[in-house]
Structure formats: structure tokens, C-alpha cells
């Protein structure tokens, strides 16, 4: 997996991965952590890339909310409309996934057009 011929970017470089997928003709959405409170496991700037075909790279949490983010990403690929998601807030309208760590975070989901 780490035997890429171009060593410029590491396997942890999600933007590069997303751009490469886009260049291959995939439909790609990119999710980015924009803000965290409390004990969220991944800092602002952490990214998850998702393709319509089902490929995924990176993470925006320790695995707690990736499924929910991927669902929104699929929708964003369809509509092209970016979304700003709140996780861990105590709101009836909030996403039904909680963060076991008790942290809160915001995630921005956009399509690579």
C-alpha cells in the first residue's frame, strides 16, 4: 500500500488521494473536521474522502461517525450542495450517532466538482 511510485505525498494525505480519485473520473466528496470541543479524537483539518463507487480514505473521528458522514457525502455527490454537520450536540434534530468519547465536532462536506 505504501509502495507508491510518487513519494511526494504519504498515504495519510487524503486531499491528494481524493484528487487522484477525481482525476480517475470518480465522483468524490471530501469531509473535513472544522472545529472540535472536548475529547474529539481527530483535530481540525482531518479529512475523509468518499467516492460514489464506495471507496473511502482517511477519518474524521475514531470511527464513530464515519458511516453517517459517508451517507451525507453520497448525498452531496448527488446534489453538489455542501453541508456543515454537527456531531455530539444534544439536540433532537441532531444526528443519531453519538460520540462515545463525549466530544463534539463539526464536519464540512463538499463535492469535488
Amino acid at each position: 500500500m505504501s509502495d507508491h511510485s510518487t513519494p511526494t505525498f504519504t498515504s495519510d494525505d487524503i486531499l491528494a488521494t481524493a484528487a487522484a480519485w477525481r482525476a480517475e473520473g470518480e465522483q468524490v466528496a471530501l469531509a473535513t473536521v472544522t472545529e472540535t470541543w472536548g475529547s474529539s479524537p481527530r483535530p481540525a483539518g482531518s479529512q475523509l474522502a468518499v467516492t460514489k463507487s464506495g471507496r473511502m480514505a482517511g477519518s474524521v473521528s475514531g470511527g464513530c461517525i464515519e458511516g453517517a458522514v459517508a451517507e451525507v457525502a453520497m448525498k452531496t455527490i448527488e446534489t453538489g450542495t455542501p453541508q456543515l454537520l454537527d456531531f455530539g450536540i444534544t439536540d433532537e434534530r441532531a444526528w443519531e450517532v453519538g460520540l462515545a468519547c463525549g466530544g463534539k465536532l463539526k464536519v464540512f462536506v463538499e463535492k469535488l466538482s
Partner: protein, 236 residues
């Protein structure tokens, strides 16, 4: 993100130019900074994000922006294309570091031993002068040979490199310190050198020593607190 913005961002990163991707929340309007059309407040916030190497959300007036800082990768200059370097270099690449291996001994510094890595066969002082270590550069010497290590350490101490390490036993390091003093470096300056390099985890093999070095490097980079080293055994 528009294709134009994505390719501008990709080009800036390939050219190792520090940039900030600013996204207005929640709408998603985006701009790549520095940009002549950016407001002064936004430009200043972007420049702070790069200095701190930290992405985050800022509120400017009644606008909320997410500033994604894209700094060029940290650099690691490894002096000595030795066995330990062969273990250290791929691990450093996994940490996202841009690695340069310096060794004028042509038998050591070969493409076969260090595939996909920038290798310089210049003398360490010339190589260091050309590479110009900055605050985002780490320097590790691995040769044990004063002819090669000393000129590199001399140049590293004259630079703002954030991590400087030198392989060698405590006795080797004591002699090295004496030589560097003769070159005019003060005790305080020489104290910047981690010697023997690496956390004391009783590392024995080359990959273990590489882990010890990179663990110490991460602690330096993240301002991690470490228990002081105790006298005793030390690898290499």
C-alpha cells in the same frame, strides 16, 4: 471545491508553497490564500494558521471561516547513508517528512539503497549550505565519523533547525562536544544536540533505533513532555 481551486491547491503543495484554503461556513465559498483580493483580517488569520501549523475555525466580524493550513512537509536531513538510515528513511516518509540523505561516500549513497529519496553526494557542509535548514527542518547525523558528522552539526547549530540529533555513545558525544566547542559553539548552543540521539528505549536493531529517533523527533515537534533520560545503556 472547484477544479480550478483543487488544481491551484495541488500545484502550491507540489511547489512546497505554504497556503491556506479558506472556506466560508456554512455556505462553502472558498479562497486560496495568500490572495490579493483577501481582506486584511482574513489574510492575517491565515498567516497565523500557517505560523502555528494549525487548522481551525475563526470568526471575523459576522463571517465564519474554516482555515485549512497547508504547510510544506517538515524536512529531515539524514547525514550518513548507513544501515540505520535505511531503516529511518522509510519510517520518516510514513510520518510525512521530506527526507534528504547526505553522504559523499558513493558506495553508501546509492539509489538502490535509498529508492525514491533525494540523495546528496556532496560533503555535509556543502550539502547543508545548499539545503538551508529552517525552523521546519530536523537534522540527524549517523556516520560516527567526525569528518562527516562535525561539519553537518556545525551548520545545523548555525541554523534554526528545530531538532538536531547525533548518533554515538555518551563517550563519542563528549568528544564531539569538545570538538564543537573548538569550532566556537557555546555549551548552550551545543545543548540543542540530542546526543546520544533518540529516546532511551534500549533499542538494539536498526529499526528499533529508528523508532527511538523518530519518537524523540515527534516529541520535539509537538512540544511533548518527556521524563529526563537516565544515565545507563544506550543504543549504538
Amino acid at each position: 471545491m472547484t477544479p480550478e481551486l483543487l488544481s491551484a491547491l495541488t500545484a502550491a503543495r507540489a511547489a512546497k508553497k505554504p497556503v491556506v484554503l479558506a472556506t466560508k461556513l456554512p455556505g462553502g465559498e472558498q479562497m486560496l490564500l495568500p490572495h490579493p483580493a483577501a481582506g486584511a483580517e482574513l489574510a492575517a488569520a491565515a498567516s497565523r494558521a500557517l505560523d502555528r501549523d494549525e487548522s481551525g475555525t475563526v470568526t471575523l466580524g459576522n463571517e465564519t471561516w474554516f482555515l485549512h493550513a497547508y504547510n510544506p512537509p517538515l524536512r529531515l536531513i539524514v547525514v550518513g547513508a548507513v544501515h540505520i538510515a535505511q531503516a529511518l528513511v522509510p519510517m520518516a516518509a510514513q510520518l510525512g517528512l521530506a527526507v534528504v540523505v547526505v553522504d559523499p561516500r558513493r558506495a553508501f549513497a546509492t539509489e538502490e539503497r535509498f529508492p525514491n529519496v533525494t540523495v546528496s553526494q556532496d560533503w555535509p557542509d556543502e550539502a547543508m549550505d545548499a539545503l538551508v535548514p529552517d525552523v521546519r527542518t530536523a537534522v540527524v547525523t549517523l556516520t560516527h565519523d567526525p569528518k562527516l558528522d562535525d561539519p553537518a552539526l556545525d551548520r545545523a547549530l548555525k541554523s534554526p533547525a528545530f531538532y538536531i540529533g547525533a548518533l554515538g555513545s555518551r563517550r563519542t558525544h563528549a568528544r564531539r562536544v569538545a570538538r564543537l566547542k573548538e569550532l566556537g559553539h557555546t555549551d548552550a548552543a551545543i545543548a540543542r544536540i540530542k546526543g546520544p540521539v533518540g529516546l532511551d528505549i534500549s533499542a538494539v536493531t536498526a529499526p528499533e533505533i529508528a523508532v527511538a529517533i523518530l519518537a524523540e523527533f515527534v516529541a520535539a515537534r509537538r512540544n511533548g513532555t518527556l521524563a529526563p533520560k537516565v544515565a545507563g545503556k544506550q543504543a549504538a
